[in-house]
């Protein structure tokens, strides 16, 4: 068996997980990163904390998960957690974020709306795809650093980020934009965003499932993120299954040393019809089950070899709903708590707040 459930730190950039305030969740498509992001937000909101869950790709996946109407570009409460904690959600709309931005820097809100009618804003984000990312990460940074009455508005911000294939580009905004926009306010803005992203208050978590491609992409993304100096958090193995078979039978079956003859006596004793044919069919299913498990276990070892804190979330039966999210949140809470370090919230970030002037106006409740 691989290193299941082990939760340890290794590697160069070590985010302080319990006190990290910006959690960026990425993963290959189909690994359930939106679900993991939502569960993480619920886990972080336990005990009366306030958490913002941010959607970046305009898919309305968060609204679907929480069974609410599509989210506007506005911070809306989607769930209440234990002890009066709350999760608010925000679906970032790039056009709106650009309008905020024009308003902030040039007092151009009304003109901006006219530009949108012309399709000019679509065009602007199309000729400079990095602009999209800067606007989104800029909005995220604003939420992370937003303060009211002398303290942070959100204890944590969780981002349902673009997939692993695009994550470094998404977060490495300065690199991308400095190629295109070598000066101007966008450049200054992205520098400010990078300061937050590269700090220990940020943790980039990678969601994978136990299949070749997702595990390979996770390894690639870790290497890329490390090179870009971005702090890596944990690897979340999602939709993990438990073997039904006892351990010794599992290895025998995986080696193909199990046949219908092993099952026949007990089946006959229980009075099941079908005889040898049934026993052989069941044995074939058991062998397949064991081989699938063995293949997953080999991948589990590969995940362990990445040397990152790892947490496994089970495959839950039935459709995903709020109850399932809370169940997954429970599983994420332990690793969050038992890890070293205290939740010294709000200290590390305060020093950076002098960049307040760069913040685009928030769609709801800007800085005091």
């Amino acid at each position: 068996m691989g290193g299941r459930g082990s939760f340890f730190y290794a590697g160069a950039v070590i985010p302080d997980l319990p006190s990290a305030r910006l959690h960026v969740v990425t993963g290959k498509g189909g690994t359930g990163k939106t679900t993991v992001a939502a569960a993480l937000a619920l886990a972080l909101a336990a005990d009366g904390r306030s958490v913002l869950l941010v959607e970046t790709e305009g898919r309305q996946g968060i609204a679907q998960l929480f069974d609410t109407p599509p989210l506007p570009y506005e911070e809306r409460r989607v769930a209440v957690a234990r002890g009066g904690g709350e999760v608010k959600a925000l679906a970032i709309d790039v056009e709106e974020a650009l309008l905020d931005y024009l308003d902030m820097f040039y007092n151009l809100r009304r003109a901006g709306r006219a530009l949108r009618k012309m399709g000019a804003i679509d065009f602007a984000t199309a000729i400079a795809p990095g602009l999209r990312d800067v606007l989104i990460t800029g909005k995220i940074k604003e939420a992370v650093t937003r303060r009211r009455n002398g303290r942070e508005v959100y204890d944590a911000v969780v981002v349902d980020a673009p997939p692993t294939g695009r994550i470094t580009r998404f977060l490495g905004v300065t690199g991308e934009m400095s190629q295109l926009a070598r000066s101007g306010p966008i450049k200054t803005q992205s520098d400010g965003v990078m300061a937050v992203l590269r700090s220990p208050q940020t943790a980039v978590h990678l969601v994978t499932i136990l299949e070749d491609m997702p595990v390979q992409e996770t390894a690639d993304a870790i290497a890329e993120l490390e090179k870009a100096g971005l702090p890596i958090g944990s690897v979340v193995v999602n939709m993990a299954t438990e073997p039904v078979l006892p351990a010794d039978a599992l290895s025998r079956a995986a080696a193909g040393e199990l046949s219908g003859a092993d099952l026949s006596p007990a089946l006959t004793a229980a009075g099941l019809p079908g005889g040898a044919a049934l026993a052989d069919a069941l044995a074939a299913e058991v062998v397949e089950h064991a081989r699938r498990w063995a293949a997953q276990d080999a991948l589990r070892d590969q995940v362990a070899a990445l040397g990152r804190p790892t947490v496994e979330l089970p495959q839950l039966p039935g459709p995903m709903d709020l109850g399932c999210l809370f169940e997954l949140a429970d599983r994420l809470e332990d690793p969050l708590r038992t890890e070293v370090g205290r939740a010294d919230r709000g200290v590390s970030i305060a020093a950076r707040d002098e960049r307040g002037a760069e913040r685009p106006a928030g769609a709801s409740g800007g800085p005091a």
């Binding site: 926009a181 306010p185 299949e211 070749d212 078979l245 229980a270 293949a295």
Partner: protein, 386 residues
């Protein structure tokens, strides 16, 4: 759906495998290519983003953006495989249609570099471009194309046109060449917009785009025409689409959109491949009875009781899973009764070698009812009797 017959038919020249990301389009493409080569055809498979081990087993280690012959013993035909390098394909287009100096000018342009490596849609555009090139080379009698792993299967059809429209669009021209167009046509709003864009992004970007568009102008006949030409290729007789999905709600929803779209475009659909299904080895014992029997066996004690009870539980789970998968397939079929379905059982691990591909090819092209379990290959679970 008889995929075996389809790929063996000399009239079939292009097969496009599409579907949502992560459903096994690449392995499906490679398995079909192998089956076609075994049927005696000369095949090239264009993969987009193969898993590393699969790529290695197909000999795709050198990234030279050209097809390489895959050495498979005992096949009648020929199998070639390649992996798309989108930047290189774009560079080749530029180089092929330009003088060396001008090509260098474009290749060095920062806007071009961003466009060819990171724009949404470039991969789809270049996949189409490469398909066009392979077809024009006429060295193979069958081309099998894997499609980029975008969230939406429709992107493969839409992105190239969208990008062509954008690059040929009025706005990019007006914006980048106000002097040429003159004030007569450029509205005050547009000039204002141009000012804002340079404010936000810095004037350098606009100058880069200007230089890029000017260099392109003299180079070749428009991005849009190029994209349209390849798009038309997909409508020609001899082209078939295979939609791939996993037995999951999201993947099947994508498949549905794509099927509707193909029919609207008048593009021929061979059918739906439902990949990674879990048909039970026997359906003689229901999930409920298996669970009951598991309890009974466990209580009875005895040497093999624990193992047998576990085996019965494995079977119960398997029956439930298969029933869920069949239910999803049925929902798809009731919305698209005309679309043939072929199920491909999940392998125990990932498919990453020629043997694995051969197993998959058998599931894709084998006779409908010639299965070890007796469940036809069109289904995960046998139809209810009576």
């Amino acid at each position: 759906m008889d995929l075996g017959q389809l790929i063996a038919d000399p009239a079939t020249r292009i097969v496009v495998c599409c579907g949502a990301g992560g459903v096994g389009k690449t392995t499906t493409s490679a398995a079909l290519a192998l089956a076609a080569a075994e049927a005696g055809r000369s095949v090239v498979v264009l993969t987009i983003d193969p898993a590393r081990r699969l790529a290695q087993s197909l000999g795709l280690v050198e990234l030279d953006n050209e097809p390489r012959r895959v050495d498979v013993p005992g096949i009648d035909g020929e199998l070639h495989a390649m992996m798309l390098d989108m930047k290189r394909t774009f560079d080749d287009v530029v180089t092929a249609h330009s003088t060396p100096e001008r090509a260098q000018q474009i290749l060095d342009n920062p806007f071009y570099q961003a466009l060819s490596s990171s724009f949404a849609g470039t991969q789809e555009y270049m996949a189409m471009e490469k398909l066009g090139q392979l077809r024009a080379a006429d060295r193979w009698d069958l081309i099998i194309v894997d499609t980029p792993p975008s969230r939406s299967a429709l992107d493969f059809l839409d992105a190239p046109n969208r990008m062509g429209r954008f690059l040929d669009g009025t706005m990019i021209r007006l914006l980048t060449a106000p002097s040429r167009t003159g004030f007569k046509f450029a509205s005050a709003g547009l000039l204002f917009f141009s000012r804002i864009i340079s404010k936000i992004l810095g004037g350098q970007l606009l100058r880069d785009i200007s230089a890029f568009v000017a260099a392109l102008d003299t180079m070749f006949g428009g991005f849009r025409e190029r994209a349209t030409a390849t798009f038309e290729l997909l409508r020609r007789p001899g082209t078939w689409f295979v939609v791939v999905a996993a037995p999951e709600p999201d993947a099947l929803r994508e498949a549905s959109y794509f099927v509707d779209r193909l029919s609207a475009e008048g593009m021929p659909l061979a059918g739906l491949v439902l990949n990674r299904t879990h048909p039970p080895a026997t359906t003689a014992l229901s999930a409920t009875r298996a669970e009951g029997a598991a309890e009974e066996v466990a209580e009875s004690g005895g040497d093999t009781a624990a193992l047998t009870a576990a085996a019965l539980r494995v079977h119960a789970e398997r029956m439930q899973q298969a029933a869920r998968e069949q239910h999803l397939a049925d929902r798809f079929t009731s919305a698209h009764p005309e679309v043939a379905v072929r199920t491909v059982p999940a392998a125990a691990g990932d498919v990453h070698d020629v043997d694995g591909l051969r197993g998959m090819a058998e599931a894709l092209t084998g006779a409908d009812d010639d299965t070890p379990t007796g469940t036809p290959r069109t289904r995960v679970f046998p139809a209810r009797r009576g």
